[in-house]
């Protein structure tokens, strides 16, 4: 903050005041001005993103008391632990299932919204985006209360229709599905909005041309809509894969990893190990296990975005 003010102030003064000296001249140069304006950003990213990332790698190679260098033994220890194997499985299962569901539902909703017009579309869109607007930690508390074992409002509906009550968060597979359901509820509106924006950018003439050629609705979907939206679909899916994979709020609040560590994913397990049990190096190793998958996704997102940027510019 203070940096910005001084930089801005300094640069603004240079052309007006007649000055001598190489430092003054350096500040007057175009590329120097550009660099100085970026300096706060560079400092922020270097100090609070790049440095911690490298520091995490170093930390993960220490013993619990952080007194001794132990190489890769933290990773080896984790891989052998059955709890951690469950975490790997659950993280992948959670992220992949949730993203597929979100993308499918978002695609359907975007089409439905695209179908209605004007003011009504605005109203519907406004209502459907609500889950995305409420801070996730707070809405997850609401879900926890919906799933509550003794006063569950969902069970009230089930019993009213003559079904048996369900122990929502007490049974492992049900708990896993509940976690996914909350994530889908929260994330679908994002996909919907992205796909709606993409649908609006598909030229109407393409559909008209397809109708003249006798294409039916299905053919239009597969030969016009999907190819036109391919890039945005891959960007959103990969982006959401990163965010879902690294999710913390839902599992932490809804189940805290239970029952019997069945719903733990990387972030919550790293939190339990690193912060709650105080084993910082082991916690760092847990979260670093996310890195390979995240970097692959990030690489493809970046490629897609650059390509899309070029398409728009062209």
């Amino acid at each position: 903050m203070a940096d910005d003010a001084t930089i801005a102030g300094r640069v603004r003064r240079t052309p007006g005041v007649a000055t001598r000296g190489s430092l003054r001249r350096w500040f007057g140069r175009k590329s120097s001005v550009g660099f100085l304006m970026c300096l706060p950003l560079i400092v922020l990213i270097a100090a609070l993103v790049v440095y911690p990332a490298l520091y995490a790698i170093y930390l993960s190679m220490l013993n619990k008391k952080m007194t001794q260098f132990v190489g890769l033994s933290n990773y080896a220890f984790l891989l052998k632990r059955s709890t951690f194997q469950l975490v790997v499985f659950q993280s992948c299962f959670f992220a992949v299932t949730a993203v597929i569901l979100k993308a499918t539902l978002g695609f359907i909703l975007a089409h439905l919204l695209h179908n209605i017009s004007g003011r009504n579309q605005r109203i519907m869109r406004g209502m459907l985006l609500t889950p995305w607007v409420i801070p996730l930690a707070l809405s997850t508390l609401g879900w926890q209360w919906l799933f509550d074992s003794s006063y569950s409002a969902l069970n009230w509906i089930l019993t009213a229709f003559g079904f048996a009550a369900v122990p929502w968060l007490g049974e492992r597979w049900i708990a896993r599905l509940c976690v996914i359901a909350v994530n889908v509820w929260y994330g679908t509106p994002f996909f919907m909005i992205m796909y709606l924006a993409a649908l609006k950018s598909v030229p109407e003439q393409l559909y008209e041309a397809a109708s003249i050629d006798g294409a039916n609705a299905m053919q239009k979907l597969f030969s016009v809509t999907l190819p036109m939206m391919r890039n945005i679909i891959s960007i959103t899916v990969l982006f959401s894969l990163i965010v879902t994979f690294a999710d913390f709020d839902i599992v932490r609040i809804l189940t805290a990893g239970g029952p019997q560590d069945m719903t733990h994913i990387f972030a919550t397990y790293a939190f339990d190990v690193g912060i709650l049990s105080g084993d910082i190096p082991l916690g760092a190793s847990v979260s670093l296990f996310m890195l390979p998958i995240l970097s692959i996704c990030a690489y493809f997102v970046l490629r897609g975005v650059t390509r899309r940027g070029r398409e728009i510019a062209a």
């Binding site: 950003l41 089409h111 209605i116 409420i134 996730l136 109407e204 972030a267």
Partner: protein
């Protein structure tokens, strides 16, 4: 579901056809869409609805286990008034406001300058930096919270709200910079060239031309920074442990859940109060909110 989709795909092309069969087909597609959307809207709005309903109930009504839990039979604002009189809750709210205000101002200052530089001035390596900014946006907090815990502790900021002011900009700045680059790049080059020829300096060009013209982008970025710092949960959960330092997202959980006792009426009232600011911002600035959301996938 799939019928509705395929029907809806066909609809836009049929829009201008006068034939009666097509019109009726279109009407069916329209009503089908409305019906399906209404079902989704009900499903999406159920949890918030239930949260509001619970917040209007007394503890006695909640634990009575009689009647329909989906409605408050004797609605009361007792939970809200008790919560607002609670000094801890006032602390949480105040802390959230302070943190969010600081983070929004810091993030916007950093990203407006950086985006202007990256979009217009440029220097050796600025292209690489722009790519790096986008990659930073993709780094999730759960990857870095443990090393940051060590760093925050070394700085003596553990269990202090100010550590959030330090860290939250890493979440907001990359995305804000990214979408601001997009907005700034879309401003015609002639505009600033003319100003520069007339003797304006770069900061003058930024403040007199770019910021006013790119106002919609700045609003969208500000909304993003606000929602991110208001709703963050992982960092305060990991770094704050006394009630005087907590923010709303973690405060509600620690204050109103003691051991196995969940005061659900008050928890939900707290959630409603805490969710109100972002929801209100969204209600009034929906278009900017959506513009910010969709701008992430493009450079403009």
């Amino acid at each position: 579901m799939s019928e509705a989709t395929s029907a809806s795909v066909g609809a836009p092309a049929d829009r201008h056809e006068p034939g009666s069969s097509l019109t009726s087909q279109r009407r069916w597609a329209l009503w089908g869409s409305y019906a399906a959307l209404a079902i989704f809207a009900v499903m999406f709005l159920t949890p918030p609805f239930y949260m509001v309903m619970t917040s209007l109930k007394t503890s006695a009504e909640i634990s009575a286990e009689r009647g329909n839990p989906w409605l408050a039979h004797h609605p009361t604002l007792q939970n809200f008034s008790e919560l607002m009189a609670n000094s801890n809750f006032q602390h949480f709210f105040l802390n959230s406001v302070i943190v969010t205000l600081c983070v929004v101002i810091i993030s916007m200052a950093i990203s407006i300058f950086a985006a202007f530089s990256l979009a217009r001035i440029g220097f050796l390596g600025s292209q690489i930096l722009a790519t790096g900014v986008f990659l930073t946006y993709l780094v999730p907090g759960s990857l870095l919270f443990i090393p940051l815990f060590q760093i925050v502790r070394a700085l003596g900021l553990i269990n202090s709200v100010w550590c959030l002011v330090l860290i939250y900009p890493t979440l907001a700045v990359p995305f804000c910079t990214w979408i601001m680059i997009g907005y700034f790049s879309s401003i015609p080059q002639e505009l600033d060239e003319a100003a520069l020829i007339d003797g304006a300096s770069y900061p003058q060009v930024l403040f007199r031309i770019f910021i006013p013209v790119a106002m919609p982008g700045i609003i969208a970025a500000t909304i993003f920074a606000f929602t991110v710092s208001w709703g963050q949960f992982l960092y305060p959960m990991a770094y704050l442990y006394t009630t005087d330092q907590m923010v709303l997202t973690v405060g509600i959980i620690t204050e109103l859940i003691r051991g196995d006792v969940f005061q659900w009426g008050k928890i939900m009232a707290g959630c409603v109060l805490a969710a109100a600011p972002p929801v209100i911002v969204y209600a009034f600035l929906m278009d900017y909110y959506i513009a910010g959301l969709t701008a992430g996938a493009t450079k403009g």
